[in-house]
Symmetry: C2
Subunit: 291 residues, 2 copies
């Protein structure tokens, strides 16, 4: 795999505009002239185009809720079946763990006028895939949802009104950091209760007398889940089960039996868990495994 696939492409800085998808392709910014997800097969996604292809896309400038591909007949913007975690969607998912940056390109048909270029396509810098999960889209079918967050080295795209004043070099807006602040006392309190034992598998990691476990939020923090940073939205897990839980590899029933995994969640009577949080997680899990 070439050095040049992921990240900035020399000669094409943030804010560069292109007349057409073909021009984007020739410049090496986006491999395909129709598909929105450009990828290195089996490795990850190097670039996406936002151009009004899916009604569920949401764009906040420094955060994008991108819709995966598929679930609609060619040429139609409406979904008539479920999206699958395969092909472009599967490769895009891999960026969460690999940390590969994704070039974001916005097109003139992008539904969010604040960020769409007036014509053609604009390369808007690098984003990282923070998370992905299944959702029900506007048309009632499963979509795979990707949360992309602007890289610290990239700037917010210029708003259109500002951009028009300075056609050659678009001005960039200042970023406001929206890092989620987690209170370390919340997981610590629970770790003491469970003595660092995983509530799913019962393992207690210990290296030279220092135990280790992690606090996992049941309903995710941050946009769009907006779960709370409280003990009733948290369970104590070993890192392996934390990963699987966050990736909807298993979930929890109302009676604390596990779904997608053997056994039951170990729950101490001092630890109250909000059933709404469990139901939120389970609804994502059920969507994820839906055939």
């Amino acid at each position: 795999m070439s050095d040049q696939v992921f990240g900035e492409i020399e000669g094409y800085p943030e804010g560069t505009t292109f007349e057409s998808r073909m021009e984007l392709k020739d410049a090496g910014l986006h491999k395909y002239h129709i598909a929105g997800i450009s990828r290195v097969l089996g490795i990850g996604c190097d670039s996406i185009v936002l151009n009004g292809g899916y009604v569920d896309d949401k764009d906040f400038g420094d955060e994008i809720l991108y819709t995966g591909e598929g679930g609609r007949p060619e040429g139609s913007p409406r979904q008539i079946f479920d999206q699958e975690l395969i092909k472009g969607n599967l490769d895009l998912s891999k960026n969460k763990n690999s940390g590969h940056p994704i070039r974001v390109i916005r097109g003139f048909k992008h539904f969010e006028p604040e960020y769409a270029p007036n014509s053609g396509y604009r390369y808007d810098g690098l984003y990282y895939l923070e998370d992905y999960w299944p959702d029900i889209g506007e048309d009632g079918y499963r979509i795979w949802r990707y949360k992309l967050v602007l890289a610290p080295t990239s700037s917010l795209p210029a708003e259109n009104s500002i951009q028009n004043e300075t056609a050659t070099t678009p001005r960039r807006r200042e970023r406001v950091s929206n890092q989620i602040v987690r209170d370390p006392r919340i997981p610590e309190k629970l770790k003491q209760i469970y003595n660092f034992t995983c509530q799913v598998c019962g393992i207690r990691l210990n290296a030279n007398g220092v135990p280790y476990a992690e606090g996992a939020h049941i309903k995710g923090l941050g946009n769009p889940h907006n779960g709370t940073d409280t003990t009733d939205n948290m369970i104590i897990l070993c890192p392996n089960d934390h990963h699987l839980f966050d990736a909807y590899g298993f979930s929890i029933n109302d009676d604390f039996s596990l779904i997608g995994k053997e056994g039951s969640l170990i729950v101490d009577r001092r630890h109250l868990i909000q059933v709404e949080n469990i139901r939120y997680h389970r609804s994502k899990y059920q969507l994820a495994i839906q055939e």
Copy 2:
């Protein structure tokens, strides 16, 4: 546990100076008037004092290699026995996982003149514990070594020469970020070879068709280990074994059998591992378990 234990103490911003350890204690910045490690018992460390107590301390301003406590008779700066991962050392270790910030206070006897105040004590802002490990100190005994890194919200302490010009409000130096850049292609290549299977326990995590494993550096990156970001210094592990390996909970013999854990490392013939890297890790492991 009070809200005020960890982090900034109101009324005492970075750069505040104190006449004595008693003044520091009364201000709530550091609990004890002799011990260098102030802590919330069983939870973590809230503050440390650097004041020439241990010959092995190293101070680079935005990075500190702090020496744990113990191993010497009271009043002597020289070690005559091994330090243990107990008491203050154990609680300080917990900051790596909890993420609690640590107040750093430099005293006039601090061996590093560039950063020591001319008299008394100076509160120098918040640091995070990036890592800890055992080492052999200058006197030939085991020390526990803590790597503290300046919080992004804090400034470098003023150098003494500058500070003298402006006695009341010490000037702060600009920081240069020294984040270690890791190449995501290095672990990815190995993950393909091992098909995301842990080289220690053989588990392969998989959620909805997306496999997950982590690339663990054998000899750590960054100061002072300075391991290389290459496949001959990396193994593929599940998150649980990655944690235990990094915390020296187990290690690897030259013949790839494990030490401190059953079994042998699974090694593909396409994956060459530098034996020097394994020996470096094992030397830390052997120090860690030394009675």
